[in-house]
């Protein structure tokens, strides 16, 4: 048995707590408040001390658990969790307010208590797992049958997505959030062709989304064309823009490509903002045609000579019908994108994209035309952004350049990279995490960015290649290996 208080652990914990103390003193220990007009500096030493002590014990527990100790970190973790939980109870039941006891000042605040209890539980769990696994280490780790796992995850996700609006517990808000998430899933899948498969880091993808949205908006408002006519046109226009923007950047790679595409994305937005005669500038375009269910409108009182959706099915008018229809529309578009990507990956052009991502010079040495290959990736990726853009326009009924800022491109790239470049399910999961959760928990606005940043750090630590990095070969030799 190794002694739990091995001195390197202690030294390390003291060092980390010291660093935390230096950092925490100005952030936590000092508080600048404004009373009247004069800013006053007050101190919060109990919180400061609490934070440093917490970090000391947390670090001690983490390093002990990492080194394979089990008993000490389990006890420490449980103790931390208990102290945290009691302080939390103490705070929330309001005992703190009436208590005049001198030790009251040393009860940590809600945040510290939460961190202490969560961290304590985590340390205990990790150490406990180490303890349980200690005897079973020699057992060879079976590789997960990733192909099967991914397939079933995909089917399960698709199944949930299909029945979601029909579940009784689902309200308008959830459908709205789900529609938004699916838009990002579709955009993520489209961008996955460019970034994940072809390896062309495109930071201006939102430009094609904007082209699709404005194509539909302008065609609909100017000519009164229906959504179903405009959808392919918007896709084609976006693809054309993809080729136009692709040509000048053919020779660029990596960081340079990223910077130039970023510039293109901004150029499109600024053109939309300033070309007032054509795009109505910052005022945007409103009264964009809503989609119809094969010609049947979603309206309480349909226009003269047309029938509406609810009379067609003989049900009462309910505005939620339109939302559900929009949900299924984007679900169908997203699944189409997915099916297309899965299929094209197995075609020569898809393999050429991946080969281009791996090594462009080797590609040229095998007779692959890099220009055509890159342009096709740009065009097809842009086409799906165009589809998603027209969906966005018809859903909102209004477009303005504000919706197509750089942050959208950045979120999309984050979705693709965090999901695992080239992984379709990874992209879907990342979209749910990065777009769905922050949107659904809007009340916790204050903590959104904190959670976002924590999530990023955790993914960088544990899955630096993205959530799902498994890549299934697009083709196998015919006698399938029996073990696989």
């Amino acid at each position: 048995m190794r002694p739990p208080f091995a001195s390197p652990l202690l030294r390390d914990a003291v060092l980390v707590a010291g660093i935390a103390g230096v950092l925490a003193f100005p952030f936590v220990g000092l508080l600048l408040t404004t009373q009247g007009t004069a800013p006053t500096l007050s101190t919060r030493f109990p919180e400061f001390a609490g934070a440093v002590v917490l970090i000391f014990f947390g670090r001690l527990g983490i390093s002990a658990a990492r080194r394979g100790h089990s008993l000490f970190p389990i006890v420490l973790g449980i103790a931390m969790a208990t102290v945290g939980a009691f302080s939390l109870l103490f705070e929330t039941t309001g005992m703190a307010a009436d208590s005049a006891a001198p030790w009251h000042a040393f009860v940590p605040g809600t945040f510290l208590a939460t961190v202490a209890s969560a961290g304590g539980v985590a340390i205990a769990v990790v150490a406990g797992r180490n303890h349980l696994l200690r005897d079973s280490v020699p057992v060879a780790q079976k590789p997960l049958p990733m192909k099967q796992l991914l397939l079933w995850t995909g089917i399960a996700l698709a199944g949930v997505a299909i029945v979601l609006p029909l579940l009784p517990a689902v309200d308008r808000r959830l459908i709205d959030v789900a529609t938004l998430v699916l838009t990002y899933v579709m955009l993520g899948w489209g961008l996955n062709i460019v970034v994940g498969l072809a390896g062309l880091l495109d930071l201006g993808y939102v430009a094609f989304y904007a082209v699709g949205a404005y194509s539909y908006a302008l065609l609909s408002v100017t000519f009164g064309w229906s959504f179903w006519v405009c959808l392919p046109l918007a896709g084609a226009l976006a693809a054309l823009f993809g080729i136009l923007l692709g040509f000048p950047v053919l020779r660029l790679r990596g960081d340079y490509l990223a910077i130039v595409t970023l510039g293109f994305g901004e150029m499109i937005r600024i053109i939309l903002l300033n070309w007032y005669d054509f795009t109505n500038g910052p005022d945007g375009i409103s009264n964009i045609g809503r989609p119809s269910f094969f010609g049947f409108q979603f309206a309480a009182k349909p226009a003269e000579g047309t029938e509406s959706f609810h009379t067609l099915f003989g049900i009462a008018y309910d505005p939620v019908h339109r939302l559900i229809f929009l949900y299924y529309l984007i679900l169908a578009l997203a699944l189409l994108t997915n099916a297309f990507t899965l299929r094209i990956r197995r075609l020569p052009v898809g393999r050429a994209w991946e080969a281009l991502r791996e090594d462009e010079i080797a590609c040229r040495s095998l007779g692959v035309n890099p220009r055509n290959t890159k342009l096709s990736a740009f065009a097809i990726g842009a086409m799906f952004a165009g589809f998603a853009g027209s969906f966005f326009a018809t859903r909102q009924g209004f477009v303005s350049p504000e919706s197509f800022t750089f942050i959208e491109s950045a979120i999309l790239v984050a979705i693709v990279v965090l999901g695992g470049m080239g992984s379709q399910i990874g992209v879907a999961v990342a979209a749910i995490i990065l777009v769905g959760l922050p949107e659904y928990f809007r009340e916790l606005q204050e903590y959104r960015m904190l959670a976002f940043g924590m999530g990023m750090v955790l993914i960088m630590l544990w899955r630096p290649g993205g959530l799902l990095t498994h890549r299934e070969p697009t083709i196998r030799t015919r006698p399938q290996p029996a073990s696989a």
Binding site: A355, I361, A362, G367, I475
Partner: protein
């Protein structure tokens, strides 16, 4: 110069600013033969390869390929790199291995048949709808790939990531991949670099097999002299960008200029000689 040769290089010169990497080199490669390009480090061998395969545009010179099947003549110095592979079917490998590391061995070989498969897939449209003609073409390509996987002894790795292969296997994969491009001239840039003697032996056999059973000409850059002397039909020796000798292995071995280039003359600097021991 032999007008019936497969490849003719005439007065090839490549300048990088003031540096003349290749200086007025002429040679030819016969149909169905193994030619070697040798010389001390920095002699300009890889530069000649880069000119042949379109990665560099030569400053001066003409590179003619007489295609044995279509009777067409290609002026390689005027063509883009990927067109040289696609149309003239001169295919190269690299001194520093360039596989597609995250793709499987079979996928690597399928990429090599890209142009053929693109046509068969109707530029993707026929492939998307799963046309039978494309499926047949794809099956034929897999068969071709499997043939070369077997020939290069990669059968157990066929579905593994190329990047996970041992070094020697990656070298052989590059040759298999080049062969899947259906070349008339195969240019190998130091294929034996980093191989142990028995692997080098296998490599010599493979190169001989490619010549004898597929009637493909091979142009080889190599430092391993025993391998070069054993496998080559004809050797061209470069030094400081100039051709100093050519002929059969026997002739080259006894050529005083070659001996001097490799071992240095008495008053030459010693660092020159140090190079040649590799």
């Amino acid at each position: 110069m032999n007008p019936s040769a497969l490849l003719q290089v005439e007065h090839l010169t490549m300048r990088f600013g003031g540096l003349v990497a290749v200086d007025d080199v002429s040679f030819s490669v016969a149909q169905g033969a193994i030619h070697a390009l040798i010389g001390p480090n920095g002699a300009g061998k890889t530069t000649v390869f880069n000119c042949l395969t379109g990665f560099y545009k030569p400053s001066v010179g003409r590179i003619t390929l007489n295609s044995p099947e279509s009777q067409a003549t290609f002026l390689l110095e005027q063509m883009d790199d990927f067109r040289i592979v696609r149309d003239a079917r001169v295919v190269r490998t690299f001194q520093n291995i360039r596989t597609f590391p995250k793709m499987s061995v079979l996928e690597n070989l399928m990429v090599a048949q890209h142009n053929h498969l693109m046509r068969a897939s109707g530029w993707t449209f026929l492939g998307l709808i799963g046309a039978p003609s494309f499926r047949h073409a794809e099956a034929a390509s897999v068969e071709r790939a499997e043939y070369w996987i077997d020939r290069t002894g990669l059968a157990e790795y066929a579905d593994s990531e190329a990047g996970a292969l041992p070094y020697g296997e990656q070298r052989r994969l590059e040759i298999a991949r080049a062969m899947c491009c259906d070349p008339v001239l195969l240019c190998l840039d130091e294929p034996a670099a980093g191989l142990n003697p028995s692997e080098t032996e296998q490599l010599s056999e493979l190169i001989g097999y490619i010549r004898d059973h597929h009637h493909i000409s091979v142009l080889l850059i190599e430092h391993d002299m025993s391998m070069v002397m054993g496998v080559s039909d004809h050797i061209v020796v470069l030094d400081y960008g100039q051709k100093i000798a050519e002929g059969t292995p026997e002739e080259v071995r006894n050529d005083p200029a070659v001996v001097q280039a490799y071992l240095g003359s008495d008053d030459d600097e010693t660092d020159n000689a140090a190079d040649t021991t590799t």
